[in-house]
């Protein structure tokens, strides 16, 4: 396949000029002037949050705030409405007097300026009955533990009341006979009565634009302005009446889910709610998120609270939380604790995995850790498996919303530390151990062992090998107990992690429209948000390729008035599913290819007539020209062909539009996984305990690179994010008070510019995935998956193979490890 735009390394991100000039107005940037409102038509909202992990509001005094003219919401304002859910968890009111985690909202208050919000909050007094609390998953299952819900701390129905056994609400998957295999194995890491305990920390999405909502109800307010650019004949007519009902500007990856949530909550028709998830006054891009770290799904409490405040106050209301406030509520990745045992033959064949994973689901959310289990099932060929997931409610937040990876980072950390420890016990090169045991090495093993579903396309094994070779593993790895090299007190360690994650599902119901204008401009209408992941560029790339264009110029409204890309507005755009789970490239990609085919079908007869060939002639779209198949010298340029789109030729709008929808027609019994490996070199100073990641090579089973610069940025950014997870990030509740201690960027430490490795090199394994557009898969989430494991293995190697079992590996952990290894005489000597 000869491709002009797909994978072209010179294509730049379409929305980046509007970002580097400050012209793109993100949701958090909205102020009254942005929306054409007078200053007194918008109020700013703040939250009163309970500091205690478990409490009941005894009394709340809002009189002083109300006397000062501020508008206040408490639980009573939500009494007439139904309860809501976060994920699959327990129902609750958006503002509740029953507090189950520190930071839960007990009141909201709105004021005319952002400064006054803080004044208003200080006028509200709350009296609490402070209850005993529990933070730890195993503590929560102990007898006499504080109970969050009447049925206890497990999800509803998790335990059969008749026999006390776990049910399907928890999860246990087994095949073969793991117990016997472990009992008779040559080599066992862990043991039936002594499994290895591994722990991961809670990490925060912590995107740079805080979550934000601006809500307004129709009435005295002026009609909400729509996007100022771009427009096209196909997009200027709203599918729902504007200026009626509820309008919400939202930092969301799922505007249509948000619309449904709000309509359902307020019991109003769906088309009375308009959710706008895109930036305004800019080309394309959106109100935030940090690239596929996502922003949020449609069911977060504060969206409803903001809308309720707008209803009560009669004003437009902006909830633009402070950073501290935001870190109290943003998406997190829950902590997990695993007890695992691996068994293998003396030749290195893995024969059994047995264990249990406790997921800390936090207060209101349900189980989200099934991806951990899925990864444990899919990573290695194992004849005997017995793995359980136990989600436990505790007095912590742990809202598992939009954010790269759900249970995969945790699962990969468990798997890849265990695999290294098993290879060490076998005294075998850990890379050879992976090559011997990785699942999916050949076509006949590319299936999910639990469901039996086939992987759509998969070269994860080849991607692992490619990264291994590019990194130079065989020469850098010097054997167990030996750092790769040393320089004085600086010990260089190498390590890696394989990865195999379920990502890139083509989501049925992804709809895209593409229009060619008579001036040659091209316009895309897709409800997808652009949150930094690059779909604003990747989807036009696939559209351009389908139309035979050799650049993205035709999407540029400065060159072709009316051209562009309209995103994520439930009143104006198609419903293009959600921006998450690495699904965009496959989902919208399939849809836009279908849309282009539909467009060409309508356009072709006019072009054929102009070329003097029969109307049913097959036309080729390539090199900015259109010609009959086999006769490229008889052509019209794309611009000439576009000029045929006139009413005289039957194109009443002066344009032609094709629609494409990914229906439920993807192959049955198919699962979608992306594999590969991440190889890392670290430097550990055994005198100062400083750790620095020096370099990384990331092998990725990508299928086809669509947006080359963006794909490289995904790998770089995802890996850097993983450095934080591996070495710094831990959202921490003080066990003595239950309160959180690090709602800020100083104490919740992410990777900074100083932590960036000298190089992060992607290695693409390209082939044609049978389902993806142009053979592409989606890789965004896999970029951070397993980085923490690779770093842990490399740091372990630098120190002579200290058995790390937790994330993050902090400086304090390094100090402990160095001393432990010294005490045992195992720290490699300084040369």
């Amino acid at each position: 396949m000869s491709l002009a735009v797909v994978g072209n390394p010179n294509i730049t991100r379409r929305d980046i000029p509007s970002k580097v000039t400050g012209q793109l107005v993100f949701t958090y940037d909205i102020n009254p002037a942005t929306l054409g409102l007078a200053n007194d038509q918008m109020l700013y909202m703040g939250m009163v949050r309970c500091p205690y992990p478990n409490a009941i509001v005894k009394k709340i005094d809002t009189s002083a705030a109300e006397a000062a003219g501020y508008v206040v919401l408490t639980e009573a304002d939500f009494a007439e409405y139904n309860l809501m859910y976060v994920g699959s968890g327990q129902p609750h009111a958006p503002i509740s007097n029953t507090v189950l985690y520190p930071g839960q909202v007990v009141a909201a208050v709105a004021a005319p300026t952002t400064d006054e919000v803080e004044d208003a909050i200080s006028l509200i007094t709350v009296e609490y009955d402070v209850q005993p609390f529990v933070l730890d998953v195993q503590d929560a299952l102990a007898p006499n533990a504080p109970q969050l819900f009447p049925a206890g701390n497990l999800p509803p129905g998790a335990v059969n009341p008749e026999n006390g056994m776990f049910t399907a609400a928890t999860l246990r998957i087994a095949w073969g006979d793991a117990d016997s295999a472990i009992a008779s194995a040559d080599v066992v890491v862990g043991g039936l009565n002594s499994p290895i305990e591994l722990n991961t920390a809670v990490i925060q999405q912590a995107e740079m634009e805080p979550w934000c909502d601006v809500a307004m109800w129709s009435g005295s307010l002026p009609t909400v302005p729509g996007p100022t650019t771009p427009t096209s004949p196909e997009s200027t007519t709203p599918s729902a009446p504007m200026g009626t009902g509820l309008t919400v500007y939202d930092t969301t990856e799922a505007p249509f889910l948000g619309q449904a949530t709000l309509a359902g909550y307020f019991n109003i028709p769906l088309n009375s709610v308009r959710v706008i998830g895109s930036g305004i006054q800019g080309v394309g891009a959106s109100g935030f998120a940090g690239m596929t770290m996502g922003n949020k799904l449609g069911n977060a409490e504060h969206v409803i609270i903001t809308a309720m405040m707008a209803l009560k106050s009669g004003a437009a209301v902006k909830y633009g939380p402070t950073r501290n406030d935001h870190l109290a509520i943003t998406s997190q990745r829950f902590s997990e604790r695993a007890y695992l045992t691996f068994a293998a033959t003396s030749s290195g064949m893995l024969t059994a995995i047995k264990g249990v994973v406790y997921e800390n689901s936090g207060a209101w959310a349900g189980a989200n850790g099934s991806d951990t289990i899925s990864d444990i099932l899919n990573m290695y060929n194992v004849a005997n498996m017995d793995i359980s997931l136990i989600p436990v409610n505790t007095n912590t937040h742990h809202y598992s919303g939009a954010f790269r990876n759900v249970g995969e980072s945790q699962g990969h950390f468990f798997l890849e530390r265990m695999a290294d420890m098993t290879a060490q016990k076998l005294n075998m090169d850990p890379a050879q151990f992976r090559l011997m045991n990785l699942h999916g090495a050949t076509v006949d093993t590319q299936f999910d062992p639990q469901s039996g579903y086939r992987y759509s396309g998969y070269e994860g094994y080849q991607a692992f090998q490619a990264a291994m070779n590019q990194f130079g593993w065989s020469s850098l790895w010097k054997g167990w107990g030996k750092p790769s090299s040393t320089n004085g007190s600086v010990y260089y360690g190498v390590g890696f992690s394989a990865h195999n994650g379920q990502k890139g599902l083509p989501i049925p119901g992804s709809n895209v429209k593409i229009t060619v204008l008579s001036n040659g401009g091209v316009f895309i209408n897709s409800g997808r948000t652009e949150n930094g992941a690059g779909s604003d560029t990747a989807i036009p790339i696939m559209g351009a390729e389908s139309l035979g264009l050799t650049s993205l110029d035709n999407f540029n409204p400065a060159m072709y008035p009316g051209a562009g890309y309209l995103h994520a507005d439930t009143a104006l755009t198609t419903n293009d599913s959600i921006q998450g789970g690495s699904t965009s490239t496959r989902s919208s990609g399939i849809s836009i290819v279908l849309a282009c085919e539909a467009l060409k079908e309508q356009w072709a007869p006019a072009i054929a007539a102009a070329l003097g060939v029969p109307a049913n002639t097959t036309l080729i779209f390539a090199n900015n020209t259109i010609y009959p198949e086999g006769n490229p010298s008889n052509f019209k340029t794309f611009t000439e062909a576009a000029a045929l789109l006139t009413p005289a030729n039957g194109f009443e709008l002066g344009s032609v539009t094709g629609s494409g929808s990914l229906l439920f027609n993807t192959p049955a019994n198919t699962t979608y996984r992306v594999g590969g490996g991440k190889f890392v070199m670290v430097a550990v100073d055994v005198e100062t305990a400083e750790v620095r990641v020096i370099s990384a090579v990331v092998g990725m089973d990508i299928g086809r690179v669509i947006f080359a610069k963006g794909a490289e940025s995904q790998v770089q950014g995802g890996f850097t994010q993983g450095i934080g997870e591996g070495l710094f990030e831990e959202f921490w509740n003080d066990p003595t008070t239950g309160r959180n201690t690090n709602y800020n960027f100083h104490d919740f430490r992410m990777a900074t510019q100083m932590d960036a490795p000298d190089s992060i090199t992607p290695v693409w394994v390209e082939y044609v995935d049978p389902v993806g557009p142009f053979g592409a898969k989606g890789i965004g989430e896999n970029c951070s998956m397993c980085v923490s494991a690779a770093i842990a293995n490399a740091v372990s190697n630098a120190l002579g193979n200290y058995p790390f079992t937790t994330t993050p590996i902090t400086k304090a952990d390094i100090v402990t490890a160095i001393q432990w290894m010294k005490d045992k005489g195992m720290l490699p000597a300084q040369p």
Partner: protein
């Protein structure tokens, strides 16, 4: 069962900066400081000195009085070479005045407490966090924001960096990048051939969650080479 009383979002605890545990926010503190200054002023008749801008020679900043230091006052700021007159509270930080009063929302406010650098602007050519810069102190100073080149290119260093940012894909979600671009502009104005370590140091105060730090280094090197 323990019974405790907490005011607002706070519980009377001690940790500075934690909204759930601190009674006094930074702005409330400033407001109270101003009140203290006013009370002192009533005795000493010095009046409002504590909050008076260093640029107070600007006649429009003299509207503050000793009796109501929270009263809105007119102020004139020179941003990107253009004088803007607006009305602010004395406690207002520059970032809020830029974003809310002047609608110059290119300057971002990701953390609002000097931890992320997303609010960085140039003041008299020097990179400064605008989230902790009192707007009252800014009359008489030259403020440059990410919007400096949006009408005509007045800062060729910033323009070179903006172009390099596009070529090297140094931004993904983009929310932190205006601040980083301003920090990089300050660097290149003083040093047109920085080393990698100097580049890292110059933008180390700018957090990015998307993590394209290596592309940022490449972009700054390319911009430096083009100047």
């Amino acid at each position: 069962m323990e019974s405790e009383k907490a005011e607002g979002s706070s519980a009377g605890s001690e940790q500075e900066g934690n909204i759930l545990q601190t009674k006094m926010s930074r702005r409330t503190f400033l407001k109270l400081s101003a009140a203290t200054a006013a009370a002192t002023a009533a005795v000493t008749t010095v009046g409002g000195i504590a909050l008076k801008s260093r640029g107070a020679s600007n006649a429009q900043s003299t509207a503050q009085t000793t009796t109501d230091l929270f009263a809105a006052v007119p102020i004139t700021l020179t941003v990107n070479g253009i004088p803007y007159t607006t009305t602010i509270e004395p406690r207002d930080m520059l970032v809020n005045v830029l974003r809310e009063n002047l609608s110059l929302t290119g300057t971002k406010r990701p953390c609002d407490r000097m931890e992320c650098g997303g609010c960085t602007v140039l003041i008299d050519g020097k990179a400064v966090y605008s989230c902790t810069t009192l707007a009252m102190r800014m009359p008489g100073h030259s403020i440059e924001t990410i919007e400096a080149n949006n009408i005509t290119v007045t800062d060729s260093t910033l323009a070179a960096l903006q172009a390099a940012w596009v070529t090297y894909d140094a931004s993904q979600c983009g929310y932190c990048q205006p601040g980083r671009l301003m920090a990089a502009t300050a660097l290149l104005k003083n040093n047109t051939s920085p080393t990698v370590d100097q580049i890292k140091a110059a933008v180390a105060g700018n957090l990015c969650r998307c993590g394209t730090y290596n592309h940022v280094i490449a972009a700054i090197q390319a911009a430096a080479a083009s100047l």
